[in-house]
């Protein structure tokens, strides 16, 4: 396997190159141990497909999504305006991200503040790579495996992206089985709206446990996710149900990686 070099935008510009896309890694993708695996998997995919890409590295700040959903519009806009200054400074046109929260914020909430970019979720981008033949996968390793896909709220309901992740899964020859609440009616994993960072209010169950139960009802070998936060919540749910040896929670990027043996 060839070594993958990750360049920042400023490094590439110094070399006189303009990358095709900016890979917005996100805070979870940069720091969270579980989410970093998704980041690396997607970087390998980009490398395999010969996509010229760059990251912002230390110039990338939180998009402000958790602050905004927690009600702190000040902090959100401070983050947004700072990030927009960096992005516009590099004249960035196209952003791909593995986090639906970053995706939603960059795509929907930055334009009014002066940040206009073409923003794609990585499942959409992977789909376009597969369609264009820039990336090929061999579904062999997943043949006959039962997979259920958990719709991230900020990808699905928030932005009506339901098809891209499923289309990618179909290329893997898996047996896709839907949960009883999916797509428009998909149940949240419990992390959104800044819940990820706090204890939940008193109730009779944790949301992630309920969602995990719904996923387990489909008797899956793999629960596919498209969001680092959903991934954490569902992984915790699977551990809670003591099913971690039978059921894996994997991001679409990780599945593609395994299928292509990257």
């Amino acid at each position: 396997m060839n070594n993958i070099e990750i360049y920042t935008f400023s490094e590439l510009l110094a070399q006189g190159k303009t990358p095709e896309i900016l890979f917005w890694v996100g805070c979870a993708g940069s720091f969270d141990e579980r989410a970093k695996k998704i980041t690396k998997a997607f970087a390998k995919i980009l490398n395999q497909a010969n996509v010229s890409f760059a990251v912002l590295g230390s110039e990338e700040g939180c998009t402000g999504d958790p602050a905004k959903r927690a009600g702190n519009e000040f902090l959100f806009q401070m983050q947004a305006l700072t990030n927009i200054e960096v992005l516009n400074g590099y004249n960035i046109k196209k952003i791909v991200t593995t986090c639906p929260h970053c995706f939603n914020t960059l795509k929907n909430e930055y334009p009014e503040l002066g940040g206009q970019y073409e923003v794609m979720h990585h499942t959409q981008f992977i789909k376009s790579l597969l369609n264009d033949g820039r990336l090929t996968v061999d579904g062999g390793s997943f043949k006959g495996k039962r997979i259920t896909f958990h719709d991230p709220c900020y990808l699905g309901r928030a932005n009506n992206v339901y098809k891209a992740p499923r289309d990618v899964l179909e290329k893997l020859d898996v047996e896709l089985s839907e949960m009883k609440s999916c797509k428009q009616k998909g149940l949240c994993c419990g992390a959104g709206g800044a819940q990820m960072f706090k204890e939940s209010e008193p109730g009779n169950q944790e949301v992630n446990i309920k969602r995990t139960e719904e996923a387990l009802e489909t008797q899956p070998d793999i629960i596919a996710a498209g969001c680092p936060f959903c991934n954490t919540m569902l992984t915790d749910g699977i551990k809670n149900k003591k099913k971690e040896n039978e059921v894996k929670v994997l991001d679409i990027a990780e599945l593609i990686n395994q299928a292509s043996d990257l």
Binding site: I6, T8, C27, G29, S30, F31, K36, K40, A43, K44, V55, G57, S58, G61, C62, P66, A67, R69, A70, G71, N72, E73, F74, L75, Q77, M78, Q79, L81, T82, N104, K107, N108, E112, L113, C153, Y154, R157, A158, N160, K185, L187, C188, G190, A191, G192, G193, A194, M196, F197, K198, E199, S200, E201, P202, G203, N204, Q205, V207, K210, R211
Partner: protein
């Protein structure tokens, strides 16, 4: 002269009913306008299409097919049978009887028959609705916020509909009997009666005068019932039959994930980030000091207040809400009901004080909606997606969180930690932003 007494009585009832209704519509309009203006005058074509599809075409009711069809029947019944109302009103004013019959001929027979079929379908649907509510006890009709008036209101509406339809059929049945058995000239042979013909034989042992009395009573009670129902709307959850139309017209057309950016904040943040700004400059006097977020109905937008009046309390939002489903206090339906209760309270306050609101020491926040409810929301948009008429409870929750955080610094302490981390490190966790690319060394 005395021959005109019924016409006069009818005109009085009609006028009183319309005046009372207009007065309530005026109040409704005034209360909604207590909200903050919001620009929804864009994309007119798309808005008309949305209204046509969701309100007129009931497209989102089909999500639950059985109840969707039953609701469609009641809705069509309401629209179609109200055509007959034109004739009833004309008869009432003119003192005529079935005034349209001579002009419409056989089409009149078809219409009356059509109305009757809808009347019986409405009765069947409404009975099924009552069974779903009270016998099967569908869970979303029995949440805490449905106790008391909301529960009675829902049942009352269904009973009124049964009574109105029964009166309509009784009126037709006795009319048919009189067409056959009496020589009174007003009971001309008109109409077809596919349903009420089965009630007609019940009158066979009655005297002609008693049947006339029944026919007249049914006619009067039916129209008085309609006047009453019209005026009941404002006090009930049933306003949706009118407000679903403007509500879907003014509903959000953007991606559900796009939350509004507060403009007042943008100005301040731009100034903070501007190296040339004078931090000690006194704000110009014409700059209004704005309040961030919402703690009361005055801080909500007109569309959010319209939303609250439009809510039918069906509870689809609450039954889809992840917080509700897992036993948290939050119920998006309750957020809408609380908002309406509060705006109504404010409205009554204004009525009492000659058009001016006297502070009553209450607010939507805490007196109605607690912060525990607000913090349980995952902002997943399931409630917004579930609403069949375009209500957005999430936007109210978010506006109230903004108030809690920006005006009261009252976020849960873990969230304060998260926000401090973002401020200091550019990430919600306490990691150094300089280490953001460390993952590349693990490749």
């Amino acid at each position: 002269m005395s021959a005109y007494i019924p016409n006069i009585i009818f005109a009085i009832f009609f006028t009183v009913s319309i005046c009372f209704f207009s007065n309530n519509v005026r109040k409704l309009y005034r209360n909604i306008n207590l909200g903050i203006p919001i620009n929804r005058s864009d994309k007119k074509k798309q808005r008309w299409i949305q209204m046509f599809r969701i309100a007129f075409g009931q497209s989102k009711m089909i999500d639950k097919p059985i109840v969707g069809i039953l609701h469609l029947v009641v809705y069509l019944g309401f629209l179609i049978i109200n055509i007959e109302l034109l004739e009833i009103l004309s008869d009432g004013f003119l003192g005529t009887h079935r005034v349209f019959a001579p002009y419409l001929g056989s089409f009149y027979n078809f219409l009356i028959g059509f109305f009757e079929i809808f009347a019986i379908l409405v009765i069947i649907s409404v009975v099924l609705f009552l069974i779903r509510r009270n016998v099967i006890k569908i869970k979303r009709f029995w949440n805490d916020e449905m106790k008391g008036w909301p529960k009675n209101d829902a049942n009352l509406i269904l009973y009124i509909e049964i009574v109105l339809m029964t009166l309509f059929l009784t009126m037709n049945a006795s009319d048919l009997w009189l067409q056959i058995n009496s020589n009174y000239p007003q009971y001309i042979s008109a109409g077809s009666f596919p349903i009420s013909q089965f009630i007609t034989p019940l009158f066979d042992s009655f005297s002609i005068d008693s049947v006339v009395l029944i026919e007249r009573s049914a006619w009067w009670l039916h129209i008085l019932g309609i006047f009453l129902f019209l005026n009941y709307l404002y006090y009930s959850k049933h306003l949706h039959i009118l407000l679903a139309f403007p509500n879907t017209y003014f509903a959000n057309l953007e991606s559900k994930g796009k939350f509004s950016n507060l403009e007042s904040v943008t100005n301040e943040v731009k100034m903070m980030l501007d190296p040339n700004a004078d931090p000690f400059a006194t704000p110009s006097s014409d700059q209004e000091i704005s309040k961030f977020g919402a703690s009361d109905v005055f801080d909500l937008s007109k569309v959010q207040l319209l939303n609250s009046y439009t809510c039918t309390e069906c509870g689809r939002c609450t039954s889809e809400c992840p917080a509700s489903q897992t036993g948290k206090k939050l119920s998006p339906r309750k957020v809408m009901m609380d908002t309406r209760d509060r705006i109504e309270e404010v409205g009554r306050n204004i009525d009492k004080h000659k058009g001016e609101f006297k502070p009553d020491g209450k607010e939507l926040l805490n007196n109605y909606i607690t912060s525990e409810e607000l913090w349980a929301c995952t902002s997943c948009n399931a409630c917004v997606e579930a609403c069949p008429i375009g209500i957005d409870p999430l936007s109210i929750i978010m506006d109230m969180r903004r108030y809690l955080v920006m005006e009261k610094s009252a976020a849960p302490s873990e969230l304060n930690n998260m926000m401090t981390n973002i401020e200091n490190n550019g990430a919600p966790w306490p990691f150094n932003q300089m280490d953001k690319l460390n993952w590349k060394n693990e490749l």
